[in-house]
């Protein structure tokens, strides 16, 4: 069963045509999974061999369909990060 935050799943359902950036944790060859995802209309941005993950962009509707794929073990949103240096008063 694919692990995904219920709030994220709800957002996909409510906004099926909105593009979302995701990180997919997969089983098997990242290269093979890339090709299978591309065939389903998913834009694969990068594959990561160290963690067997892929960063992708797709619509909420497509993301919901990805939940049915047995070789995807976890889906999480690709989140923002920032530099941690700044001036403090």
């Amino acid at each position: 069963m694919v692990q995904v935050d219920p709030e994220t799943r709800k957002a996909w359902r409510e906004h099926p045509r909105t593009s979302v950036d995701l990180i997919l944790h997969v089983e098997g060859s990242v290269q093979e999974r890339k090709e299978k995802l591309a065939a389903r209309g998913v834009e694969v941005k990068r594959g990561f061999r160290l963690t067997n993950t892929l960063s992708v962009r797709c619509t909420g509707e497509t993301a919901l369909k990805l939940l049915r794929l047995s070789w995807i073990t976890r889906i999480e949103p690709d989140r923002a990060v920032r530099a941690l240096g700044r001036r403090f008063p």
Binding site: Q3, D21, K45, A83
Partner: protein, 418 residues
Amino acid sequence: MTDEGKLTHGLARTLAGKADAEPISVIVRYGALRRVMRHREPLAGVQQSYHYRLRPFVHFYATPEGIRRLAEDEQVVCIYEDLPVHAFLDVSVPRIQVPALWDAGLTGEGVRIAIVDTGIDPTHPDFRGRVAETTDFTGEGPIDRHGHGTHCASVAAGSGAASGGKYRGVAPQAAIYAAKVLRADGEGMMSDVMAGIEWAVDRGVQVIGLSLGGSGPSDGTDALSEMCDAATEAGVTLCVAAGNDGPAAYTIGPPGAARQVITVGATDDSDRVGYFSSRGPTLDGRVKPDIVLPGVDIVAARAVGTNMGTMVNDYYTGATGTSMAAPHAAGVCALLLQAEPGLTPQQIKARLMDSAIDLGADPYAQGSGRADAWRAWQNQVQPYPKPEPTPPSPPSPSPGQGCLTSLLQLLFRGRGRS
């Protein structure tokens, strides 16, 4: 003397011009040491930070109202504004006893450090001839248009050439690899950082400095934290900034919450943990940060055409944050690896933690303490085992998996801020 008269002129002026209720840093002088114990009783708007032993002083973070309450105490003699002091590289680097390692011939020569950040200014004299390779995952090109990456790289490995050696970094002869994963606005996406880490691992770097992060809390199971742990398992030592969301507990986000990395909080020139430095535990209850190092008002290289921080001159600028503490750690790791190339990331982490100087602060603020390069090299362990810390009240609902982190962030955003 009136209560208001106990405030120094500078503090009174600061309070008069202060419109918000955010706490400020103050030092309170008491009439006698024993009287200080009175404030073990909590006062609203007042948080005790440090109790000095040699003089009857106590450091507090207090709101304007809290300062007035302190002033009403008849045992309080005077309240001072805690003024900033500058821990230039020529102060912070000697503080952690790096020059002793330089004297022993350890300068990072032959060690490869990657800075995964906003890029680097390869034309800066402090990096001359040592930028081995750069890359860009943002689409903006590898040049640093923000200044943060250049600053961090020089803390870790700047030569200080443009300052006659004054602002020399920790490992001034290390080879530098720079992956740009944050845009000119200092922001980026986790997936770009993951790509930067993998790029660095593929280049055979031995140390990676990560002075970036997302909001906490995190249980360390998010994709970026897992990538950091995978890089560690591949033999690379990662030094990661704890974050700037302190002093509330549970403020360490990804990738600082990753299990195997060295998570670094920030101290000031007086070896006090920075108010802003993110505190543990992690969402799943682990102690973080692992160590603390200088990160307040650090003067280091300025990228050409950028204005990050407080500019010193064309070549240098001052900045504060756990971002500045993490590359101190990366530099020390490079020195240790030059001395003992066979050290594993786990051994290096253990060395730094076991030899750190206990500052007497909460373990969820200081970790094992302030790291010291000489003690780590000599493998000097702390004389006494430290007690297990008592965790603060856990956030509710109970900690979940990494995928719940975003939701929990929303739930806890603003927690602990008065």
